[in-house]
Each structure stands twice: as structure tokens, then as C-alpha cells.
């Protein structure tokens, strides 16, 4: 699915330059579940942005299904995001003025889906995360866990190949966190997704099949499912 080689990202503000990523080499297979962990400021979110085609690296290449994201035009990146990448955020990022169903529909808008079809798909997606009764509620009328479910429906309604999550449980209490994690795990299996999740919750990290640890812009992969020693790519 992904093949990163020498991915570097620098942010420059005035004379200062921040090296968020310093030469990341990483391969993620189709259907993998990878948890990215690391200290704050380590570059986790930056890496996720590269994987989600939200931004281009300063140097290096990111192959997605054999295409180098780093070289795609803005229009093609936009299309890639619209069609193949689902993304969820720590603070849910729902549109506060739109209902749950309309929020989910926003993911289908760039695909040119007909309104009636859009509504039906959105309702279905919400039902599958247990929010069939909350279609017409505004985000402000939903609990944190419910809002994240809406966000998950929004990410998955278009049937993407990849689901990216940046600390999806960071704003939730423990009970809700486990519910959401179980939901995501179930959906990962059900849809055969490639699922990449950033967290700094060591509980989650421990139970992840594959763990990528980012420190100071460099990555270390631990294949925990096979219980092998850390391998450096």
C-alpha cells in the first residue's frame, strides 16, 4: 500500500527551520494495522499528513498504490483524498452547523454522488456505527463518543482503501475509548482496510499488531504480532 523512502519534512518559519521528519523509510502492506507512537513533537502528525496526502514532503518519495504522492498535482491529490483516504481526528472535526447525516454526506460531495443516494449511504453508515436514531442531530447535541462515531462514518462512507486516525481517542474517557477502539478494530477487519493510527496511549500501543515509534523525526518499527525484536528499516 505505502512505500516511503527518505521522507523528509521541514517547516521553515523565517530563519528557523524545524525538521519534523528526517528521512523516514517505511513499508505498509495492504490490510495492515499500524500504530504510530512517540513523544510529543516527534513528528507523528506530520507523518500522518504525508500518508493522508494532506501535504507533500520536502524530500523523498511516498508511493501509494505505486504512485508517488510527492509528485502529484494539487488536483490529483485532492481526488486521491476524496476517493481513497478516510481520516479521523482527535477533536472529531465535524461541521458544527450540519447534522450528523449531513456531516457524513460532506465526504460524498466531491464524488458527485446524487443527493438521494448520498443521504441513503450516509444513513446506512451511521446505522452501522449505532447512530441510526441520531441522523438529524447536530454535533453539539451528541456526546464525544457519538461525535467520533459520526466522524468514523464520514471517513468510511466512501469506502476508502486507507483509514488514518490521529489520536482518535485522545478526547474521550476510558470507557468510550475502548468502545471506539473496538469499533475501529471491527471495521478494519470488516472492510479489509489499511488502518494507521497515531496515539500516545501506551495501552493502545501495546496491543497493536505493528508499532511504529517516531522520535525526533525518525521511525522504528516493532512487529508485535510476531513478537520479534524491533527491526529498523
Amino acid at each position: 500500500m505505502y512505500k516511503l523512502s527518505g521522507v523528509t519534512k521541514q517547516y521553515s518559519r523565517g530563519k528557523e527551520t524545524v525538521h519534523a521528519l528526517r528521512g523516514i523509510d517505511l513499508v505498509i502492506e495492504d490490510g495492515d494495522q499500524v500504530v504510530i507512537q512517540g513523544p510529543t513533537g516527534g513528528g507523528k502528525s506530520t507523518l500522518l499528513q504525508m500518508l493522508g496526502a494532506l501535504d507533500r514532503p520536502t524530500a523523498g518519495s511516498i508511493e501509494f498504490d505505486g504512485v508517488d504522492i510527492a509528485k502529484l498535482s494539487e488536483t490529483k491529490l485532492t481526488r486521491l483524498r476524496a476517493e481513497k483516504i478516510g481520516i479521523i481526528f482527535q477533536s472529531f472535526n465535524l461541521i458544527p452547523t450540519l447534522t450528523a447525516q449531513e456531516n457524513v454526506e460532506t465526504a460524498l460531495a466531491p464524488m458527485g454522488t446524487k443527493p438521494a443516494e448520498r443521504r441513503r449511504l450516509a444513513a446506512e453508515a451511521l446505522e452501522s456505527v449505532g447512530l441510526g436514531e441520531r441522523l438529524h442531530h447536530l454535533p453539539g447535541e451528541l456526546s464525544g463518543g457519538q461525535q467520533q462515531r459520526v466522524a468514523i462514518s464520514r471517513a468510511l462512507v466512501k469506502k476508502p482503501k486507507v483509514l488514518l486516525a490521529d489520536e482518535p481517542t485522545g478526547a474521550l474517557d476510558e470507557g468510550t475509548r475502548d468502545e471506539i477502539l473496538a469499533l475501529l478494530d471491527g471495521l478494519w477487519k470488516e472492510y479489509g482496510l489499511t488502518f494507521i493510527m497515531v496515539t500516545h496511549d501506551s495501552h493502545i500501543a501495546k496491543s497493536a499488531p505493528r508499532l511504529a515509534t517516531i522520535k525526533a523525526g525518525q521511525v522504528t518499527i516493532t512487529d508485535q504480532a510476531r513478537q520479534t525484536a524491533p527491526v529498523s528499516y
Binding site: S45, I95, L98, A109, P110
Partner: protein, 486 residues
């Protein structure tokens, strides 16, 4: 999605929408008010000018100013003192301003390109002095008479008693109308409210149409007669001026007026209607160039001489009002633009998220522009409502304004009629011009153009604000979805 999102945003973020549209509304309301009040002002000025000119007159032609030295026109009255206390009366008929043009100038003017019609008229002013002029009676001194032969000169002693004059001066203005061309000239701004008006058959008839207010003060009605300088005129009609003030007290056929004033084939003023009201200044130039010795006064020139609270208010409306509304409008546009782009700033993560979801920049920008556009329309609707309310309030109150025309611009007297000032006390021609002080109720008519302008401004305001906001939104990156704002 576009309309759903737009509707939701506007409904659920009402406060922001109201603030933006209120700002625009204020600006637009001010533009409407200033515009309609200005229109009311020029309407009022139009009424003032119309009372002098009549309907459809674009300019007048009169004799060019001559050196103000001619004193030949000074009126003289000769009354003989009489024994019988008989009432004596004498009229002096003078041409107003003492400057006349040949009648041939009328055709000359009519022949100029751009002139649709030209009609001549003769303005006269009549001073009537009437009263008794008694010779004194000699009374012999009683005591002197009681000593006959008592020496002395023998001449009768006594004194003259009771000699003197008791007379009144009455002046009024007469306008000689070209009865063959009744659709142009001062009489067109009056309506015949009693009796009948002139017909082309009245060329040399001894008939007079009186202005209503003059007829009232003189207690004259249709069928009565008026004697001017020995000629008896029959009152055939009473004319009521549209604006409450008439150009003359009495109207008689032009030929009669020329005979009275001993000014055969002379006119004081040529009333000109241009073929194209937009080319008035070109016609003015042409006439002045091609017919020497003439002064052309356009409505605009005349308007410049209007003074009094009308012109003060009118100047205020056109200068202060205009700039104020432009300033407020610019401020409103800026505020709307700033508020819109600050609203975008507060929604950085929202728009970033949409971009991360695969929304094209254009789609996000369109959304922002759409919101701003609707805010503009709302502001426009609100502004039109406010502006109409303000304009109707002005019309309902209809504040009274006064207007006086500069004495240099009396009916056809043209600049340089200053000579008339010499008769100020006696109500001479100068007085006639200076007495053009009118009271006019101000209205604020809202024209379709004003409404169209308001809508255009609202749309422009919305688009400007939308462009600012949309530009901000277009520069957001999908990675902004992860920004920690709010």
C-alpha cells in the same frame, strides 16, 4: 450540498450574518436616503425654475448685458394739480430689464441645430400711480381784513391751505405671450382654473389672463376688465400657478404687449426647448456663438442662483450627504469584508477538514462566497427597507424649504438687469425678480434607479466581502484540519 450547507450556516450562525448585513444595510439605507432627498431637492428646484420658465423650457435667450448706464428708462409721471379733486391716474409701462431683442432673433434661435422650438415673450412691468392732486386754497387772514384802511400794503394777507397730493403707487408685471405658440413659455406652468385661456385667434385681442393670486387681491374675476395705460383689457381667464408662484401677474397677447410698451417687434426673452435634453450646453454654446449680443441662461445656470434654505439643504445633500454615504458605504464594505475573513479564520479547521475530505479549493471558496453574497442580499433588503422608511419619513414630515432666486435671474431679465434695482421701493422690475422667494415642501421620492443602485451595492458588498473571505479560504491547506484552533 451547497445549498444545504449555506442554509445551515446562515441559520445557525445568525449573529454573524446579522452583524455583516446590518453594516451593509446602514450604508445602503444612507445611500437611498441621500439619493431620494437629493432627488427631492432637485424636484423642488425644478418647481422653482418651472414657475419662471414654464414646462419644457431648457434655456432662455435674452439680450447680453449692456453697460448699466442707460437711464433713459427712468419713468416720469406728470400730474397737474387741479381744483376739482378729481382722481388722476397715470401708467408707466416699461420693458423689464430695459433690454429687448428683435423678434427676428426668435426665428434665428429656432434655426439653430439642436433647437426643437423657440418662442418669444415680452415681460413688462407696469407702474400705476393714481390719486388726487389738489391745489391749495387761499384763505384770507381775518384780522388783517378787520382793519380796513389801516395802512399796510393793502395786499390781502392770508395763507395757502390744504394743497397736496394723495396717491397710491401700484405696480404689477405683465407678460406678453405668443398666442400662436402656447406650449412653451411661462404660462405653461399655470393652469386655467376659471374662464378660458388664449387661443391663436387672440393675436391682437384686448384680452388678459390674470394670475389667481393677483386677481384675488384686486378682486377681479372673469368678465371684469383691466385698464393698462389707457387700453381696456377684458379678463377672459384666471390662471393658477402649479408651484404657487407665477411668472407674471397678468398675461396678454404678445402683440398687445409690444404696442403697450412701444416695443414693436421686440421681445425680452426667447424660451428654448432643446431637441435633446442631454445636449443643452452644446445648444447654449451654439446660440451664443451664432447670434451675437445674446445671453443664454440654462436651467442649470438659473439653479445656481437659487439661494435660501433649499439651496443650502441641496448643497448639503449633494456634498456632505454624498460623501458621507460613500464613506459609510466604504466602511460597511470593509467591515463586511473583515468580518467575513475573520469568520473564515475562525473556521480554519472546518475548511481544512473539508479539504482533507477531498473538497476542492473552489468548492470551499464558493461556499464562503455564497454565504457572503446572501449576507449582502440580506443587507440590501434590510437597507432598502430602512432607506424607504427614512425616505417616507422625510416625505411625511415634508420639511418646508425656502428658495429665492438671485435678482440677476428674473424671468428673462438675464444677468445684467441690474438697472431694475433703481425702482426697488416702487416695486419695479428688480423687485419682481427678487421677490421669487418660494416655500416648497421637501419630498424624498425613491426612484427605481435608486432601488437598482441599492441592489447593485448590496451585491457588490456581498461580492467584495466574499472575495476577501473566499481568498482566505482558498489559501487554507488540508493540513489545517489538524491545527489546534478554536
Amino acid at each position: 450540498m451547497f445549498f444545504t450547507y449555506l442554509r445551515r450556516e446562515l441559520r445557525r450562525r445568525k449573529k454573524a450574518a446579522i452583524v455583516i448585513s446590518m453594516g451593509l444595510a446602514l450604508g445602503i439605507a444612507l445611500v437611498i436616503t441621500v439619493n431620494s432627498v437629493s432627488a427631492g431637492m432637485s424636484q423642488a428646484q425644478g418647481k422653482v425654475l418651472q414657475s419662471l420658465y414654464g414646462l419644457g423650457t431648457d434655456m432662455t435667450v435674452s439680450k447680453a448685458a449692456a453697460a448699466a448706464s442707460s437711464t433713459s428708462g427712468q419713468p416720469r409721471f406728470n400730474f397737474g394739480a387741479r381744483d376739482d379733486s378729481k382722481n388722476q391716474s397715470s401708467d408707466r409701462v416699461m420693458v423689464q430689464g430695459f433690454e429687448t431683442l428683435k423678434s427676428s432673433v426668435v426665428t434665428q434661435v429656432a434655426d439653430q441645430t439642436g433647437v426643437k422650438k423657440a418662442v418669444g415673450g415680452l415681460s413688462l412691468s407696469v407702474i400705476k400711480v393714481s390719486g388726487t392732486f389738489d391745489r391749495g386754497t387761499f384763505k384770507q387772514n381775518q384780522s388783517a381784513g378787520g382793519k380796513p384802511g389801516g395802512g399796510g400794503s393793502g395786499a390781502p394777507q392770508g395763507q395757502v391751505q390744504g394743497g397736496g397730493a394723495d396717491f397710491s403707487i401700484n405696480s404689477f408685471s405683465v407678460y406678453g405671450t405668443d398666442v400662436a405658440n402656447l406650449d412653451l413659455g411661462p404660462l405653461t406652468s399655470s393652469k386655467i382654473t376659471s374662464g378660458k385661456g388664449f387661443t391663436s385667434a387672440d393675436t391682437n385681442a384686448k384680452v388678459v389672463v390674470l394670475d389667481k393670486s393677483y386677481a384675488k387681491t384686486k378682486k377681479l374675476t372673469v368678465g371684469d376688465s383691466v385698464t393698462i395705460s389707457g387700453t381696456k383689457f377684458k379678463v377672459i381667464g384666471i390662471a393658477t400657478a402649479d408651484s404657487g408662484d407665477s411668472a407674471a401677474n397678468a398675461y396678454i397677447p404678445l402683440q398687445r404687449a409690444q404696442t403697450l410698451a412701444d416695443s414693436k417687434d421686440k421681445v425680452t426673452t426667447v424660451y428654448v426647448q432643446a431637441a435633446d435634453s442631454k445636449k443643452i450646453s452644446a445648444v447654449k454654446t451654439a446660440i451664443q456663438k451664432n447670434i451675437s449680443g445674446t445671453t443664454v441662461t440654462t436651467s442649470a445656470d438659473l439653479a445656481d442662483t437659487v439661494s435660501g434654505s433649499l439651496s443650502t439643504a441641496s448643497n448639503l445633500a449633494t456634498s456632505v450627504g454624498k460623501w458621507l454615504s460613500i464613506a459609510v458605504l466604504i466602511a460597511a464594505f470593509l467591515v463586511a469584508a473583515l468580518l467575513t475573513s475573520s469568520a473564515v479564520n475562525r473556521r480554519v479547521r472546518e475548511f481544512g477538514t473539508l479539504k482533507a475530505l477531498g473538497w476542492k479549493s473552489g468548492r470551499v471558496t464558493r461556499q464562503v462566497m455564497g454565504e457572503a453574497f446572501v449576507n449582502g442580499l440580506l443587507g440590501g433588503a434590510l437597507g432598502i427597507a430602512l432607506g424607504l422608511a427614512a425616505a417616507y419619513t422625510v416625505t411625511a414630515i415634508s420639511p418646508t424649504l425656502t428658495a429665492s432666486l438671485g435678482s440677476t435671474a428674473g424671468a428673462g431679465a438675464g444677468p445684467g438687469a441690474g438697472g431694475g434695482g433703481r425702482f426697488g421701493g416702487a416695486g419695479g422690475p428688480g423687485q419682481q425678480a427678487a421677490s421669487k422667494a418660494l416655500k416648497i415642501a421637501l419630498e424624498a421620492p425613491v426612484s427605481v434607479n435608486t432601488i437598482v443602485l441599492a441592489v447593485a451595492l448590496a451585491v457588490a458588498g456581498g461580492l467584495i466581502a466574499g472575495t476577501f473571505g473566499g481568498w482566505r479560504a482558498s489559501r487554507l491547506r488540508p493540513a489545517d484540519a489538524l491545527r489546534r484552533v478554536e
